[in-house]
């Protein structure tokens, strides 16, 4: 077990989250309302209230490696019910970005891949090309025939476009992607180093 020296900031992780998204996790009183409300709690390895507790006690790695931050569907039930007014779903978003930034996103790679393919679709076309997104996701997650039975149903209903729709100002959107940084750092502007 790591023993903190006198000079170490025991609230380093909490401060980091606070600086990145403005949410102060030290307000959490561990009432467990978020966990009781979370529709995905049964499948999570850490419960939402445990994620907040880990942040409070400066336990960084377990949080950035847990499945919870990826399984969170951003339904905001926790945020709307938190008696301390913590935007828990926003904290989850911040933890996801940190996990990706530090290469710690593990265990739910297919969710990270889905998000990346989704964004790439916007970058290419300006809008999401749903059929292309699902096909690319299936290839990336090595399950090429996943949901193949739904294809004929959706095509029969003429609900899936076979071709992507490209917006006129695709170049502007691409430029937005090029300039974008994972975190908005207030007035410290500058371009992404990609």
């Amino acid at each position: 077990m790591k023993v903190l020296g006198k000079q170490e900031n025991v609230h380093e992780f909490r401060d980091e989250i606070l600086a990145l998204c403005g949410e102060d996790t030290s307000n959490c009183v561990q009432c467990g309302k978020c966990t009781a409300s979370c529709p995905i709690a049964p499948e999570m390895d850490l419960q939402p209230s445990q994620v907040l507790r880990h942040v409070q006690i400066n336990s960084r790695k377990p949080v950035l490696q847990c499945s919870t931050i990826w399984l969170c569907a951003s339904c905001e039930t926790c945020s709307s019910r938190c008696p301390e007014g913590i935007e828990i779903a926003t904290v989850m978003d911040t933890l996801r970005k940190l996990a990706v930034e530090e290469g710690l996103a593990t265990g739910q790679e297919q969710i990270v891949a889905f998000n990346e393919i989704f964004l790439d679709s916007i970058k290419r076309h300006g809008r999401v090309f749903e059929l292309g997104l699902v096909m690319r996701f299936n290839m990336a997650s090595r399950q090429p025939l996943k949901d193949a039975h739904l294809g004929p149903v959706m095509l029969g209903k003429r609900k899936l476009s076979l071709l992507a729709h490209n917006i006129r100002e695709k170049a502007t959107v691409r430029e937005i992607f090029r300039k974008s940084r994972r975190f908005f750092l207030g007035d410290k502007t500058g371009e992404a180093a990609d």
Binding site: P39, I40, E43, L71, A73, S74, C75, E76, T77, S79, S80, E87, T90, D93, R96, K97, Q108, Q110, I111, V112, F114, N115, E116, F118, L119, S121, I122, G126, R127, V128, E130, L131, V134, S141, K146, H149, L150, V153, M154, K157, R158, K159, L160, S161, H165, I167, E169, T172, V173, E175, I176, F177, K179, S180, R181, R182, F183, F184, D187, T189
Partner: protein, 299 residues
């Protein structure tokens, strides 16, 4: 156009941000909303050359993208000279609204987005979700008075999903919203009290963790069936496809075939206004709503 004093043309010119799903899996949401707006004489103006709002992947992976993508749409709305922008998708709506609010609050964010997108947003756009627009702008009273074929006896479970809780959204009670119920009543239908009106449909987990998506769908469908719903009314393209398209998979996993139609509220309104089922895209729903609508004498 509908006739009668209460149904006189609204003569509104309103911005419209369809969002990506309404061009594919939710075409019937688009069709039916455009149809009822046309009926009320509302001029829907598509935001010129709109782009995707970034959806969940942007706010999960890249904060600046999550603001910059909606920001460009707000700029485009101003270019198109519209003040109010209606979004059918709750996520799109929340992203436009939240970006506007954050830019109003923080000058420094507005400056950064102006630099990223290449244009300065004048903060003039008022974002509305479609159900709020139906409820407050068209108005429940007006909808009620323009009903030609009441949906008498149709038991409707109104499903709101996460709409009322999303960031920046304050249009109805977060825990027990009633706007859709009030509209259903105005159509002559019977809105039901039920437990799962604001439960989560799982969003994109239906693709990335289908096991979780199916569990959530089963719970919601079971709750609706438990109150003897004839159908579930929805106002979100993702809720609709998660609950409609996957009922066969739910049956396979849980051994229960619900066969419960997931009908867009705009389609129910169109039906009550006397519009044809094909004009409203009812044929595009996976679970066929026509049998129950015929049994109830609505069609």
């Amino acid at each position: 156009m509908f006739s009668g004093k209460a149904c006189e043309e609204l003569n509104m010119r309103v911005g419209y941000y369809p969002g990506c799903s309404l061009e594919s899996t939710a075409k019937e949401f688009d069709l039916s909303f455009r149809a009822i707006c046309k009926g009320y004489g509302i001029d829907l103006v598509d935001i010129p050359d709109w782009n995707c709002c970034g959806a969940s992947p942007a706010h999960q992976l890249n904060e600046e993208l999550a603001f910059a993508l909606p920001y460009r749409n707000l700029l485009k709305a101003e270019e198109g000279n519209v003040k109010t922008v209606v979004s059918p998708c709750p996520a799109c709506y929340s992203h436009l609204l939240n970006t506007h609010n954050k830019v109003v609050e923080r000058q420094v964010l507005g400056d950064r987005l102006t630099e990223m997108v290449g244009g300065s947003y004048q903060k003039s756009v008022v974002s509305k979700h479609l159900v709020d627009f139906l409820f407050r702008d068209i108005g429940v009273e007006r909808i009620h008075e323009s009903v030609k074929s009441p949906l008498q006896g149709l038991r409707v479970a109104c499903y709101y999903g996460c709409l009322t809780r999303l960031p920046g959204v304050d249009i109805d009670d977060a825990e027990n919203p009633t706007m859709m119920d009030a509209i259903s009543s105005a159509l002559g239908a019977e809105p039901l009290e039920w437990s799962h009106k604001t439960e989560c449909c799982g969003a994109s987990l239906s693709i990335t963790r289908t096991d979780i998506g199916l569990r959530l769908a089963n719970e919601i469908l079971e709750a609706a069936q438990g109150v003897k719903a004839d159908c579930i009314a929805v106002v979100c393209p993702l809720c609709q496809s998660n609950l409609d398209m996957r009922q066969a998979d739910v049956a396979k996993k849980y051994g229960r075939l619900y066969n419960l139609p997931l009908i867009y509220l705009t389609q129910l309104i169109g039906l009550a206004l006397g519009m044809g089922s094909e004009d409203l895209g009812l044929d595009k729903l996976v679970v066929d709503p026509l049998p129950v609508l015929r049994t109830k004498g609505v069609l």
